[in-house]
């Protein structure tokens, strides 16, 4: 499916019978610096189309995590335009911002599980925040925890879990609300290869159901296993993009 790239094409041409295409993520000349320091990200142009599956690779310190932070609005750019779901984030109200965040599932390297809540409660968090009834989601969570292999640990507190278990709990929390955009930072970094493949299947399955997936990873095996677009970042600049959904 052709995707119009407004950055490279000043006069976009849409095929007359093509369905309207939603840019889930769009970066235009995005730059980020802290204070008066040097730019950590420079002139990032990127588009993730709806339903795309994209890997973001690059060496450590290249800016992968920072780029992801911009995608899930944990940071604001110093310059340029970022739009999520076709909405410019710089003009979003607080309410719109939080509503947008509810459409985004995030798996971070430090997991960010709440220590005094059980695995079940941690996973339920996005659903509680969006005001859903416990009775309506209990079964879904139990099923998801079975899928990620944590059903026997659902009442455990995060500090008692291994790194891999915490990672799986964080992934379950990111996907439980069936987000439109899933962002994961090294999601298979702490798990054994079998679990890693299983998690990748979960992401793939979600992608098949329409979720746009962006995964930052070093894991070449993971990239090889999954036929998907790849973006490479080095020294704060995006270098290449393989299609179909992701565009430089």
């Amino acid at each position: 499916m052709p995707i119009i790239n407004p950055v490279s094409s000043p006069t976009p041409q849409i095929a007359p019978q093509a369905a309207p295409i939603l840019d889930v993520v769009r970066f235009e000349r995005v730059g980020l610096r802290y204070g008066r320091g040097p730019e950590i990200l420079s002139d990032v142009n990127m588009r993730l189309g709806r339903g795309s599956f994209t890997f973001l690779t690059g060496p450590s310190g290249a800016g992968k995590s920072t780029l992801l932070k911009l995608c899930y609005m944990a940071l604001k750019p110093s310059r340029g335009l970022i739009s999520l779901f076709e909405n410019d984030i710089s003009v979003m109200s607080r309410k719109e911002e939080q509503a947008t965040k509810r459409r985004v599932g995030v798996v971070l390297q430090d997991f960010r599980l709440i220590d005094h809540l059980s695995v079940f409660e941690n996973v339920a968090l996005p659903l509680r925040v969006s005001g859903q009834n416990r009775a309506d989601y209990t079964r879904d969570i139990v099923e998801l925890l079975q899928w990620v292999g944590l059903d026997h640990r659902m009442n455990a507190l995060p500090p008692t879990l291994s790194g891999g278990e915490q990672q799986r709990a964080a992934i379950a929390r990111a996907v439980i609300a069936k987000p439109d955009l899933l962002i994961a930072d090294e999601p298979t970094g702490n798990v054994d290869p079998a679990i890693g493949r299983r998690l990748l299947r979960l992401f793939s399955e979600m992608n098949r159901m329409g979720t746009t997936v962006l995964i930052a990873t070093h894991d070449i095996d993971l990239i090889r296993e999954m036929p998907a677009d790849t973006l490479r970042i080095e020294k704060g600049r995006l270098l290449e993009g393989l299609h179909e959904g992701a565009h430089l």
Partner: protein, 299 residues
């Protein structure tokens, strides 16, 4: 083996262990205790003022200057007749000489007064409820009978007592307001500390899309419950103290208001507890919104 969720209801999102909940409740309980005593004092003072003013307002004292001891009884009879005519429903009671002398004891002590010391005749006039008395009219009526009389309707004392009692009541209410102000400050301070202690939780909540109102509600509920707990403990202790003081009340402390309780006092105390909890919750809500906004601006 597969499990089921242990808790039927959702676990609280804010950790109770991460802040000094117990210390905070103790502080709030002490404040509620002081607030309860201040409120009971204000209510009792008001009640005492009404009682005293009511009693004074329903009575008057007529003072007759007797020309000579021989005429004393005749003048008393005349005065009583005049007073009965003027106030037919009132109880007219002339004080005996001994009673009149006893009234001087606070000033003169237990001295044997000389027999020729001219003491005025005092006549107590006790009115029925709703009845009024005009000192001027009574004075004229008594003068017409040739009596040198002075009618004191106690309004001077009544006004003074009223002003004093109002002052005490206002002081107690000011103290109550101060305690509520301190409650706001304590709750805001505690919320600030809790927000800091629960920073990681808030960061996660913000990341999963929780709105400020959702986060504020967590702190409002927590502060409200703590205010309620502290309020109940403090008010119960205040009640016990008030009852104890009321039971220990004797002639020496009779001028102090009796902190004895009425049903309306109980209702006021319930309002106090609820108000205290609401104030704590409100302070927590305002603080949370303000700090979240500030954090956002900083980010």
């Amino acid at each position: 083996m597969s499990q089921t969720p242990e808790n039927v209801t959702a676990q609280p999102l804010l950790s109770a262990k991460s802040d000094n909940a117990r210390s905070l409740i103790i502080v709030l309980a002490i404040m509620a205790f002081l607030a309860a005593l201040a409120l009971l004092f204000a209510l009792s003072t008001d009640r005492m003022r009404k009682d005293w003013q009511g009693e004074l307002g329903r009575s008057a004292t007529v003072q007759i200057m007797v020309d000579s001891p021989e005429l004393r009884d005749t003048q008393i009879d005349t005065a009583v007749r005049v007073l009965k005519t003027a106030q037919p429903n009132a109880t007219i009671l002339p004080l005996s000489e001994a009673e009149s002398q006893s009234l001087l004891r606070p000033w003169l002590g237990n001295l044997d007064l000389p027999d020729d010391l001219p003491l005025p005749v005092l006549i107590s006039v006790n009115l029925k409820n709703g009845e009024s008395l005009s000192p001027t009219r009574l004075n004229s009526a008594l003068s017409e009978e040739g009596l040198i009389a002075e009618v004191d309707d106690h309004s001077r004392w009544s006004d003074q007592i009223g002003r004093s009692a109002q002052g005490l009541k206002a002081s107690a209410l000011a103290l109550l307001a101060l305690i509520f102000g301190a409650g706001i400050a304590v709750s805001a301070f505690a919320t600030r500390a809790a927000l800091s202690a629960q920073r990681d939780v808030i960061r996660v909540l913000v990341q999963v899309g929780a709105e400020d109102g959702f986060i504020a509600r967590l702190f409002i509920k927590q502060a409200g419950l703590r205010g309620l707990k502290g309020g109940v403990i403090g008010v119960v202790l205040g009640l016990i103290t008030a009852l104890f003081l009321s039971l220990r009340r004797n002639a020496e402390t009779a001028l102090l208001p009796d902190l004895g309780l009425s049903i309306s006092d109980g209702l006021y105390l319930i309002v106090l507890v609820v108000g205290f909890a609401c104030v704590c919750a409100l302070a927590a809500g305002v603080t949370t919104f303000r700090l979240l906004r500030r954090e956002r601006r900083r980010a």
